[in-house]
């Protein structure tokens, strides 16, 4: 295995991984390359295998075949805590915060070294000012949007070089989606983000590079700027409404260029 082909551009390489959950063959050969810096988006229908891809990278559902290379180091087959310890933060879907722990504890538990939280507190409260106000409250008192913010904030406590974020917009009100988008944009300036997102507007606004997962395989990839022009492709894999958003974006970018 050539380990350091492009140590500077790719932070994460996933090579044809196959993942099973019980007897179910969920991933049948997913390959990805995540470039250092910015946001890479995983797109695809419900049940296509996006979440499983994230979990496979992190070792929560370890792949049976294939390779996962983080910063030139093979990490497949390691235990999840070891992989996370190498600098991967994870924001699961459905706002999986610890409901019986306070906001403070939810953040504190993510420390990998003593004092992590103090060091990062300003950055986190800058992104999500609400959390400062709610600091002492137990997690189950938070609203859905606040829980989602806490889940993202939790992944920022430790020094992570890569964040895996799974559907942060799910079930959020439009205003909150906008806030979340801003936050992710801001944090992606310092960290690489691999984002799973169904909301095509959010995905297309944030992502520079995209991968489409379909039926447990990587079906397509490229630059987001190209994808929004390819209405047929979007319609095929993501549905009509996403295609319409893509069309709208394409038209606007044309306009901008024209004007």
């Amino acid at each position: 295995m050539e380990m350091d082909q492009q140590p500077t551009t790719d932070i994460l390489t996933v090579e044809t991984i196959h993942t099973y959950i019980g007897q179910f063959h969920i991933l049948e050969g997913v390959s990805l390359r995540v470039r250092r810096g910015g946001v890479t988006v995983l797109l695809g229908r419900n049940g296509a295998g996006k979440t499983t891809t994230l979990k496979s990278i992190l070792g929560l559902t370890p792949p049976r075949q294939g390779q996962v290379i983080l910063d030139g180091q093979e990490i497949q087959g390691k235990r999840a805590f070891e992989i996370a310890g190498l600098g991967i933060g994870y924001v699961p879907e459905h706002r999986a915060i610890f409901r019986d722990l306070s906001v403070a504890e939810n953040l504190k538990i993510a420390e990998r070294r003593k004092g992590d939280l103090e060091r990062r507190a300003d950055f986190i409260f800058d992104l999500f000012p609400d959390l400062k106000r709610l600091y002492k409250l137990p997690g189950h008192h938070l609203s859905g949007g606040q829980q989602q913010m806490l889940a993202v904030a939790r992944a920022l406590v430790a020094d992570n070089k890569l964040l895996l974020i799974d559907e942060p917009s799910e079930g959020l009100a439009p205003v909150l989606i906008e806030q979340m988008m801003e936050a992710i944009r801001e944090l992606s300036a310092t960290t690489t983000v691999l984002l799973v997102e169904q909301n095509f507007i959010m995905a297309s606004q944030l992502g520079e590079h995209y991968y489409i997962i379909d039926d447990g395989r990587t079906a397509h990839d490229g630059a987001m700027a190209d994808l929004i022009h390819d209405t047929a492709l979007i319609r095929r894999y993501l549905g009509a409404s996403a295609a319409r958003v893509g069309g709208e974006f394409a038209a606007r970018s044309e306009q901008r260029r024209g004007g």
Partner: protein
Amino acid sequence: MKLKGFWRQNSTFVVLMVLLILLIPLGWITMGQKPFVRTVLSGLTLGALYLMVAAGLTLIFGLMDVLNFAHGAMFMIGAYAGWQFYTNPTFLFGLAPLVFALMTGLAATPLLRPLVIGWPVPEEWQRRLRTFLILLAIAVGVIGVLGLDLRDLAKTAMVSTMVAANPLAEATPQEPLARFWLRPTLLLIAGLLMALAQARPGDQTQIVHRAEQRRGWIALLALLALTVAAVLVREPAAIVVLKMNANWRFALALLVGMLIGGGIGAVMETSLVRPLYVRPFYLVIATSGLAFVLKEVVQFLWDPLPYQMERPPLFAQPGKADSILDWFSAQTTTVDILGVTFPSYRLFIIVLGIVMLLGLLGLMRYTRLGMIIRAGVQDREMVEALGINVRRVFTLVFAMGVGLAALGGIGAAPFIPVEPVMGDRFLMQGFITVVLGGMGSVSGAAVGALLLGLARAFGDYLALKFQLTPAISEASTVIIMAIVLLVRPSGLFGKKE
């Protein structure tokens, strides 16, 4: 708003406490002062004992979803270990080098890994090789233990209970060092063979960590030094312990019982429980099988007889103290509490229970480990994803839970007969306690233990009054549990769903 939230969270607790407080004057008046106080005190004693079993059970269940049916056996093992340490520790000191030697061998696993993963072992032979190595290790280990002075334990135990005044006379002579050193050596080899199997020769899919290597060396050397030390101090240490002040010896016995329990818990989790997490059904069966085996082992070593452990001198001076303050200077067997003559050792059990509860609550509330446990009860996967080694936390919590049960065992030993079945009754009551309080909740277990202890004590009182036997009140605790569960299917403080 805040009050409403507080009420919603703590309503059960508040209602229960108010009820209990209302019952006090009622009991005081109807029963009369003396019987009432006596009954409350015995209820508290029982509650403390139940808590010691239930705390570990509820922790283990909450975090790992494991119903540990061997918990009662651990209570018993703790009692035997502590009692043995208190009366005649030669056996334990003779065993320690062997255990350390085996651990030393096992600690070599990460060091062997980089050496053996390159071995040219074909894939289909890897498993067979590992099985062979483990069987070989077991054989070597058995040879190492063979002929150890085990059968004399029952005899010395009997003697030491009879001539309690001078236990030194019973310090059995041990095998001479010239012959004994072979045993740890053999166990070291057994441990190394197991380590070799664990390093999975030929399996190149493994990853070798540098950090693990360095830590491995440190652990190996430390354990080796410990083994050598244990071999050397084997005889003198036993004599030192026996010459010690009996109160200190008892305190040390509490610690030793707890540590041995914790050690067994850790071994049990890594060897027996871990492979079965995916099959919870079998976990129940395996732990009850283990309880069965442990009871048999104890009967094999100590004969199936009940023993009575003497009380440490702190609670054994003849006479009665007029108050608790008085007892501190007189150290008498009994204390006068609100007109009731009460055994001072039972007060010690109550205090031990309270200390344990406070320690545990503090641990859960204020330490990082406690935070991880509380988080893990909700979502293990996410805890792991944050970079925390959940598997190690599991082992730790399991060891802790079992250690608490063992501590309960040795604490109870001067108070109830030390016998192979001593854990069974407490396991049953411990389960009821945990179910009452709601599985996974430490404070729930505490309230459950309090309720159950008091219910038993008052039940016994009522049963006697109506000329029934305590058996009836014991059986009726089940009815309490059934009623609670019919109203709240997941216990008083359990999570819904």
